[in-house]
């Protein structure tokens, strides 16, 4: 079990009188890829906030490398090795693409990848001097993934990485992640079934704040109950 | 002997006076007066600063303009009450012009708004001085004398001020929560582009809301005119405290405004009696900073959301 990176045990959270999440378990091992899917309002983003320590669970525990990270300031969490890509692409619009990546590298004490390599990884080599605010939507998403890579994370959390992407961009993103799979662990929250299908990984399905199913994606896709509440039938 | 030492000793001596009820009631009424003024000035700010996110440093000048309206009406022979009716109108006119000429072009540039409105505040002050001459303007209260309240006698005009302030607050609450215009305002504040998309004339709504805030500040100016100095530069005395009221109470809710006014006004009145007033003022402002640190969303957060 020494290769367990992130462990959520019996996690629940309640907002006021509302039980938003209940009894969730998730174990992410080193260099493992997994996805979380579920209908809107199922609590995916809340769960992600618990995993990154932004929220503190009202029951259960979330441990990263054995530490309780709930309530730590964001930058401390980043320095522990958790990188997060937000749902709305959030790059620094008034800095150039290159400076965006530089700023990202400066966030950690020991960046490894040079900026040039990062640029190539996210296919923005030709746009290094462009202001990030002028990039197309999909390119911003990629730049953001590049920034997340720059801090040399142990764990990369992606919140709807393909939101607003065209189908072909979605697939390209999936391929990019598969290429990086061996380097660190990835947890992705996603709607786009094509994307999850392309990743074809361990998948957790949430519904109304609880685990509905979990397992490899092809099992999930075939599951009757998942089809009922979420995927729908054709 | 240091006079301050005496002030301390005397204050302590006075606390053991027998007529506690008198003391309590008067303190309460003093606090209420201050709270009422802060609330009225803050109400306009709560709309422009709290809801529309416009940092209007010329807000104090709406108060000034209101006070000058009362002075002007009295000086040409009108009664105080006529002047008080003119005060919000004067505030509204200035607010409307300001919104039209400057603010509406700067909704997306908050720092520029700060600069421009400060500039406007200087222009208004100097303009008033050039128009009405140097120095303080006389305003006579509508009623002299005091009112007997069983436990104590209290200046009658202050009681009127408190009453008008409370009625105004009630009116604003009803306007925002019960009328369709109130619904429009809330809509525009939440999502301007979408409000425009459902057919609301957002420019007009903003302009009216801003003007309305200026009118209330003008009314506040009219109300304080018989009580405090009337001078082109008087507005700045109210500005910082009013901002604090809004920030401490929490942006975007009337409840927050009331909470903020009670916090700043109440604390000032009570501390004023206990310690040196200068120190009291510093403590209130520092307490406000600490309060903002501890409750960044305001004392009254959550109530409106």
């Amino acid at each position: 079990m020494s290769d367990v990176l992130l462990q959520a045990e019996n996690v629940g959270i309640r907002f006021g009188g509302l039980q938003a999440l209940e009894g969730l378990n998730l174990t992410v091992r080193d260099r493992e890829l997994c996805c979380i899917i579920g209908p809107n309002g199922a609590g995916k983003s809340t769960f992600l906030n618990l995993l990154t320590g932004t929220l503190r669970p009202t029951s259960g525990s979330v441990r990263f490398l054995g530490h309780d990270i709930a309530g730590l300031p964001l930058h401390r969490i980043a320095r522990l090795g958790i990188a997060r890509k937000f749902q709305i692409p959030s790059v620094f619009p008034s800095l150039s693409v290159e400076d965006n990546l530089k700023v990202a590298r400066w966030g950690t004490s020991s960046p490894v990848r040079p900026v040039g390599e990062l640029l190539d990884l996210v296919a923005l080599g030709s746009r290094a001097a462009t202001l990030a605010g002028e990039l197309a939507h999909g390119q911003k998403q990629w730049l953001e993934i590049g920034m997340a890579l720059a801090i040399e994370p142990r764990l990369l959390l992606l919140d709807e990485p393909t939101a607003g992407m065209t189908p072909q961009e979605t697939l390209a993103t999936a391929q990019m992640l598969l290429r990086l799979k061996g380097e660190f662990s990835i947890v992705a929250v996603e709607h786009d079934i094509r994307f999850v299908r392309a990743l074809n990984c361990e998948t957790l399905v949430l519904h109304q704040g609880r685990r509905l199913r979990s397992g490899p994606f092809h099992d999930i896709e075939a599951d009757e109950m998942v089809r009922d509440v979420y995927l729908g039938r054709r | 002997m240091r006079p301050k030492a005496c002030s301390q000793a005397c204050a302590n001596a006075s606390q053991v006076l027998p007529d506690t009820m008198d003391f309590v009631v008067t303190t309460l009424l003093n606090a209420l007066t201050l709270i009422s003024i802060l609330m009225l000035v803050g109400l306009g700010l709560a709309i422009s600063f709290g809801l529309m996110n416009v940092t209007n440093l010329a807000h104090g000048e709406f108060v000034t303009v209101g006070a000058f309206a009362v002075y002007f009406v009295q000086s040409v022979g009108g009664s105080f009450w006529l002047g008080l009716a003119a005060a919000p109108i004067a505030g509204a006119v200035v607010g409307c012009i300001l919104e039209f000429a400057i603010i509406r072009h700067l909704y997306s540039r908050p720092v520029s708004t700060v600069l421009a409105t400060w500039g406007v505040s200087l222009i208004l002050q100097q303009g008033l001085e050039l128009t009405f001459g140097l120095g303080a303007k006389p305003v006579t209260p509508p009623i002299e004398g005091t009112f007997d309240l069983f436990f104590t006698v209290y200046p009658a005009y202050r009681l009127i001020l408190i009453a008008i302030a409370m009625l105004t607050l009630l009116g604003v609450v009803l306007l925002i929560s019960r009328t369709s215009f109130g619904l429009d305002i809330r809509t525009v504040i939440q999502n301007r582009e979408m409000a425009e998309g459902v057919g609301i004339n957002t420019r007009r709504t903003y302009a009216i809301a801003f003007t309305f805030g200026a009118a209330i500040a003008g009314l506040a100016g009219g109300l304080v005119a018989p009580l405090a100095i009337v001078l082109p530069q008087m507005g700045v005395n109210y500005l910082a405290n009013a901002f604090f009221v809004v920030i401490v109470g929490g942006v975007g809710s009337i409840g927050g405004l009331v909470a903020g006014s009670v916090f700043v006004g109440g604390l000032t009145s009570v501390l004023n009696y206990q310690i040196s007033p200068s120190l009291a003022q510093a403590i209130v402002l520092l307490a406000a900073i600490v309060a903002v640190r501890l409750r960044p969303n305001g004392l009254f957060n959550g109530a409106s959301r």
């Binding site: 964001l74 930058h75 980043a78 320095r79 997060r84 937000f86 959030s90 790059v91 620094f92 619009p93 008034s94 800095l95 150039s96 400076d99 530089k102 700023v103 990202a104 400066w106 966030g107 950690t108 920034m147 720059a150 801090i151 | 940092t55 700067l106 908050p110 720092v111 520029s112 700060v114 600069l115 421009a116 400060w118 500039g119 406007v120 200087l122 222009i123 002050q125 100097q126 303009g127 001085e129 050039l130 700045v236 910082a240 901002f243 604090f244 920030i247 040196s276 200068s278 120190l279 003022q281 510093a282 402002l285 520092l286 406000a288 900073i289 600490v290 903002v292 640190r293 501890l294 960044p296």
Partner: protein, 328 residues
């Protein structure tokens, strides 16, 4: 980006050359006028380093100027303290930085940004001035402390004595030049890029491992420290310190200088400070009541006509010129 750097250095060099030539053409009085204006220019640059880099407006910056001034006064007026001027300057810097650290801690770590910060610092300025007036046993009350000696100290072999006009001018001009250069190199390098990132999206910057509140705090403290330095220099040149040197009016004026000179350019605010003060004194001698009116109009006009300040005129003319050439 590189072209912009070259422009800046060019303008800086021109200004430096003018500053070197000036003593040869000016008399002692004119030197003192520019010297004092330069000190306020330093003050403006200190505000610009914070406001221009973080986009957060401090409306009580004169508080730090005043704190620096009062500490300098108290140290140099106390005969028991050796090396008075030198310790005074250090104390002024440290004192202003300390107060900024306390206030900044509450504000930045409390999540206060934008207009909130502006308003809270506005109140801070009011408190500072009131404290300077009321706490008369230390501050001398509303009339302030007088008789502050000119800067003079021996440091090993170096003998500094600024009681004469020319040495004091040279001293001040060099300090301003060095500080502006240092701040400029800071703000275009790594420090500046991260601050720009924080200004763009603070949460994102934090999620990349940057301690955003700490960065803002350090920037604020640095800015306040330089304001304190400017205050210390000024009171020595003026010979006294008074409460309104930490007041709202000066806080407002410094904002105008920065806005007129060009926010984020560091050099612009220095030029803005000199230009506006000269204009103010000249206009005031000519017609006293015109100045406040004019000042108000300057605020409004700057916002609409020259949002990037006077320094941007050069860049604008250049691009206009370029555009014309391309059009031909």
């Amino acid at each position: 980006m590189i072209a912009r750097d070259r422009n800046w250095l060019l303008i800086f060099a021109v200004c430096a050359a003018l500053a070197v030539v000036y003593p040869f053409i000016a008399d002692g009085y004119q030197l003192t006028v520019i010297r004092d204006a330069l000190i306020f220019g330093l003050f403006a640059a200190s505000l610009d380093f914070f406001w221009g880099r973080t986009g957060i407006l401090c409306f009580g910056h004169a508080a730090f100027f005043g704190i620096g001034g009062y500490i300098m006064a108290l140290v140099t007026l106390n005969d028991a303290i050796p090396l008075g001027s030198l310790l005074g300057i250090l104390g002024a810097i440290a004192g202003a930085a300390f107060v900024a650290a306390i206030i900044g801690y509450f504000l930045f770590f409390g999540g206060i940004r934008g207009s909130y910060f502006t308003i809270v610092t506005l109140a801070m300025g009011v408190i500072c001035q009131q404290a300077a007036v009321s706490w008369s046993s230390v501050t001398g009350g509303d009339s302030g402390l007088i008789g502050i000696p000119p800067i003079a100290f021996d440091l090993g072999e170096i003998h500094v004595d600024l009681s004469q006009d020319l040495p004091s001018y040279i001293f001040v001009a060099s300090i301003v030049a060095v500080v502006v250069l240092v701040l400029w190199s800071l703000s275009r390098g790594r420090w500046g890029a991260v601050l720009t990132a924080i200004q763009d999206n603070e949460v994102r910057a934090a999620a990349l491992g940057h301690n955003a509140p700490l960065r803002l705090l350090v920037t604020f403290v640095l800015s306040a420290a330089i304001a304190g330095l400017a205050g210390a220099l000024y009171v020595c040149m003026a010979g006294l310190v008074a409460p309104d040197l930490s007041g709202l009016l000066l806080s407002t004026e410094v904002i105008v200088w920065v806005a007129v000179g060009g926010r984020g350019t560091l050099l612009g605010p220095v030029l803005g400070a000199i230009a506006i003060q000269r204009a103010q004194q000249t206009i005031s001698s000519f017609n006293p009541s015109l100045w406040p009116l004019l000042l108000g109009c300057v605020f409004v006009v700057i916002v609409f006509v020259l949002p990037d300040g006077i320094l941007s005129i050069y860049a604008r003319l250049k691009s206009l010129f370029k555009g014309r050439r391309q059009a031909q």
